[in-house]
Each structure stands twice: as C-alpha cells, then as structure tokens.
C-alpha cells in the first residue's frame, strides 16, 4: 500500500465570508498517527468533519482509505470510525444497547454483535455500567463508550477530535494507551488536540493549523528544530558570584535583577560541560541551573497567531 490512508490537496471550506480552511494539503501514511494541532477556532474540527464525510468541502481533492470522498462517500464511511468532540452516544439507552445498536448498523450477526460488545465493554472498563442509561455516565465513561462504539466495525482509519479534552490525567493516559494499541494493530489515527504534550507523545507527524492554513508540518523533532530558544539558565544568590560568572561567560544574557544568566545552548552534554568547565575554572558555583530545550509549546506560540496575544511561557526542565 503506497497510497496514504488520508490524502487532501487544496482543501477549502468557508462559512459565509469566513474562510475556515484555506487550501490544506495533507498526506497520512497508513498505520500512523497524524495530529492536527491548533488553537481554538483554527479549523481542526471542520477538517475532521469534512474528512469524515459529515460536511462537504468547497474545494479540494480528498481521498480517505483509498476512496474519493466526493465520488464514493459510502465507501469511505465503511472504512472509518469517528469520535467527535461532543459525545456521540445515545443517552436514553444503556451502554450495552448503544454497543448493540452499532453492531446492528454494521450488519454483524446477533452472536457476533454480542461477542464484540462484550469484548469492548470489558476492554473499556464499562461492564459494570453496561446496563445503565448512558446519560448517567460521567464524562470519562461517556468518552470511553464513545470510542468503544467507534471501534465496533473494526475501522481502518479513525478520526479522534480532541479525544482527551475534559478527561482527568489517568483517563487521558488510558486513552493514549488505547490509541497506541490501535496503531499497533495497523489502524491509522487522525487526531486533533490542543495539548502539545499529547501530539508529542502519540503522533508520528504533526501539522500545526492556524487561521485555516498549515503553518508547519513534520515530526515533533523537526518542528522543535524550527524554533530557537534553547538555553541554560544560571541563577545566583551572591551578587559577587553573579558578576564573576557574567565575566566568565561573555555570551550570556544578563538579568541583574534576578541575578541570573541565560547562556545560549543546544542542551547537549558537551555544550553543558563547557559551560560548567568555565564556571569551575573561575571557581564559581551557581545556585541553580536549568536547561531549557524548545518544546512544542514554543513551536505552537511561534507559529500560531496567538504568539502576539499570549506571551510564551517557557517550560523549564530542571536537570
């Protein structure tokens, strides 16, 4: 299979005067996780709705699971599973009935439907709640039921629109585990998220969507290389030591108020050692040393329009 599981060329969509997607190109190889990252209103959900046949595009050549989206949407539907941002469970009936409904709509035999339902309820830890109406479920349980329903037909391509929004940390990690297992089974996952860590953890490739356009695309590592900002930060309590260190490290940016120095660094061991060696030979000891490597937050803020509005808050990794 050389054809990508999801391919889009020149995808456009406007609502009235508002251009939501303004010419998007995507190619997601089969069996990988692709993450669409972007601020609220960037067009992530619209992209998912279009690729999952829910909404028609204004323009663009779109193929999902080897089928043309405009020419044969039913063939696309037969191959995909979708878990939208808002829970797509029938609240009036029980979790088990929801699952059996999906089995019926996938034309499974009664026996097969019961087997798949039992397996998935077990896997998603919903056996105890199976006989209760889905409307009584907690947010995390609804989300799990939602994903379980998506998996009934054994889809080859799965769209997950912000699957962990509103979940507690444990549920989020469980969801990540589920997504990893799916990919191991050869499924292609198209994931939208606002959480940079999530994209970093799961995605083989990431596209940053901003204002209806792809601002950057690549692996997490490739994206991180796009932005500068790696440095070592040294903090002192003794003003004399601070001044001595500033002399020993001429390339450093001084912050006289907090008595700290910022030395440009790629965060490698060698680079770090040279900084420490210079401090050692001057007989200075820093009170605190932190290494900052660019993370997806930096990429996000550097590439999306929100950079001007929200100042970047560098995450420091204490080493």
């Amino acid at each position: 299979m050389t054809e990508p599981a999801i391919a889009a060329r020149g995808l456009r969509k406007s609502y009235g005067d508002k251009k939501v997607l303004d010419g998007i190109d995507l190619a997601v190889p089969a069996g990988t996780v692709f993450s669409l990252l972007g601020p609220n209103g960037a067009g992530k959900t619209t992209a998912v709705k279009i690729l999952s046949t829910l909404v028609t595009a204004d323009a663009g050549e779109l193929r999902v699971a080897g089928h043309d989206l405009a020419a044969d949407p039913q063939a696309v539907r037969a191959a995909i599973g979708v878990t939208g941002q808002f829970s797509a469970v029938d609240g009036l009936i029980t979790g088990e009935e929801n699952m059996l409904l999906m089995a019926d709509l996938h034309h499974l035999s009664r026996k097969e439907g019961r087997r798949v339902t039992g397996e998935l309820l077990e896997r998603f830890d919903l056996v105890e709640a199976a006989k209760k109406p889905a409307a009584t479920y907690s947010g995390g349980m609804k989300r799990r039921l939602d994903i379980a329903m998506t998996l009934v037909g054994g889809p080859r391509v799965i769209f997950l629109d912000e699957p962990t929004t509103g979940l507690d940390p444990r549920s989020r990690h469980n969801m990540w585990q589920i997504i990893r297992e799916l990919v191991t089974g050869g499924v292609t996952v198209f994931l939208t998220t606002q959480y940079l860590e999530e994209a970093d953890q799961l995605a083989d490739r990431i596209a940053v969507l901003d204002g209806g356009r792809i601002a950057a695309e690549g692996t997490a590592e490739e994206l991180k290389r796009l932005v500068p900002g790696g440095h070592v930060r040294l903090r002192f309590t003794d003003p004399a030591a601070y001044r001595a260190a500033a002399l020993a490290l001429p390339g450093a940016t001084r912050d006289d108020e907090s008595l700290s120095l910022q030395v440009p660094s790629d965060g490698s061991q060698r680079d770090l050692r040279s900084v420490l060696d210079r401090l050692d030979s001057a007989g200075i000891e820093a009170d605190e040393l932190t290494v900052h490597t660019p993370d997806l937050d930096d990429v996000f803020f550097a590439l999306t329009g929100s950079a001007a509005a929200i100042p970047a808050q560098p995450k420091e990794n204490v080493r």
Partner: protein
C-alpha cells in the same frame, strides 16, 4: 445481502431504537394522548346536550357518534407532535452525527422515526377508540371491509401527518420550537367539521374549515363507520394524505441532506 435487504435492516434497527426510546420514556406519548381524551369527554359530557340539540339530534348519544371520528383523527394530530419533538431532540444529539459518518442507509434515521410514530399513532387511536366505545360509541352497520378501510385511512393519515411533523422537527433548532411549529396539527381539527357541521359555521369561515386535510378525512371516516354520505371526500382525503406525505418526505429528506451545523 442485497442493498435493499441492508436498507430494510438499517431501517428496522432505527425503528427498534425509536420504540426503545418510546418504551423507556412513555411520558411524552401519554401526555399527548390526554388532549384528545379530555376533549372527547368535555364535548360529550359538558357540551353534549347543547351540541346535540343544535344539530337536531335527540340526545347526547347522537353527538358521541358525530364527534368520535374527528377525535380519532385529532389523536393522530396530537401524537405526531411527539414525532416533531423527538426528531428535533435527536438531531441536536451527537449520535446523529455518528450515524451520518457510518455506511448505513441514509434515510433509515428518518424512516425509523416515521414508522415508530405511525405505530404510536395507531396505538393511540386504538386507546382513544376504546374510551369512545366505553362511553357509548357504536358504528352503524359498518361492514368488515368498511372497518378495514377506516383503519387504512387512519394509518395513511398518520403517515402523512408524521412526515410533515418530521419535516417540522428537522427545521426546528430545538424541541420547544418543534413543539410550537407542530401546534397547528392539533389546532386544525378544532376548525374542521370535527365538532360542528360546516353548514352550521358562519359563511366567511366555511372555506377555512372546508379546504384543509381534517375535514375530508373526518367526513370519510364518518361515512365508513356511520353510513353518512362520503361523496368526493374519500378522494379528497386520499389526495391530501398522499400530497402531505410526499411533501413532508421531500422536505425532511432535503433537510437531512444539508450539512449539519
């Protein structure tokens, strides 16, 4: 399996879902049943003597015979409001978005609602009919064939009104709006020949009562069950039913095809 078998299977799955909803949450259906039963009892026991005298009848029992066909059709008008409400509620739920992204027969969602609502209408008509018989309604020399035709008419009328109600539900942003826009379906019988003969109405008002679906359907039902003159009303009722069903179906289907918001 052929595509037709699959389509039928999807429709029956959706029907099961809707009947499950109706069985779990029967309050809406039961509430809607109250209106026709209350009106039946009100008109028979409170206004019955006056109405009967006004129409040249002997006593209240004559008026029961007159009013029951209209009340049965009104029961349908009332029950289908439930269809409009449940369609509007359903369309605002995420589960419909899920159905749209699945390889199922496209119309099955709506057909499930329609068949479910027609079945509920028929059940409601039987219940109201039982109340009518309990308070003294009897048919006059109706043959088995006429009874069958009466049932057929009621079912067809329910189908037509349900498709219109489903269209109203599809066009409404929420359940309240759907309930409001479907209100005429229960008000129309009040300005038909259900409770008083058209000849007894003021001249300027008669066309309003005459040119609407309930009057010919009521007159046909009277003819079948009580042996009164049917005349053109049979064909008119049939034409109204088919026209409304086609219109409602087209309307609902085009709304369903539109991209969801």
């Amino acid at each position: 399996m052929s595509s037709l078998t699959l389509a039928a299977r999807d429709c029956s799955t959706m029907l099961r879902r809707n009947l499950l909803h109706a069985r779990r949450y029967p309050s809406l259906t039961l509430n809607l049943l109250l209106t026709p039963v209350m009106l039946l009892l009100l008109f028979v026991y409170i206004f019955g003597d006056v109405m009967s005298a006004g129409m040249g009848g002997a006593d209240r029992s004559d008026y029961i015979a007159y009013v029951v066909p209209g009340v049965l059709l009104m029961t349908i008008g009332s029950t289908v409001i439930g269809a409009a409400v449940s369609v509007a509620t359903d369309m605002s739920e995420g589960i419909i978005a899920r159905f749209r992204t699945m390889a199922i027969h496209r119309s099955s969602v709506l057909i499930g609602h329609v068949v479910g609502s027609v079945l509920q209408s028929v059940a409601s008509v039987v219940l109201v009919g039982a109340v009518a018989v309990a308070i003294g309604f009897r048919s006059k020399d109706a043959t088995a064939l006429e009874w069958l035709a009466a049932f057929g008419l009621l079912a067809l009328f329910a189908l037509a009104l349900t498709w219109i109600a489903v269209g109203m539900g599809m066009a409404s942003p929420n359940a309240e709006a759907a309930s409001n826009s479907a209100m005429p379906l229960i008000l129309l019988p009040l300005i038909s020949s259900a409770f008083t003969p058209i000849e007894a109405m003021p001249g300027w008002f008669r066309p309003i009562a005459e040119y609407q679906p309930f009057t010919p359907a009521i007159e046909t039902l009277r003819g079948l069950l009580l042996g009164t003159e049917i005349g053109n009303n049979g064909w008119l009722a049939l034409a109204w039913c088919l026209g409304l069903a086609v219109l409602g179906h087209r309307w609902s289907a085009s709304k369903f095809r539109q991209d969801p918001k």
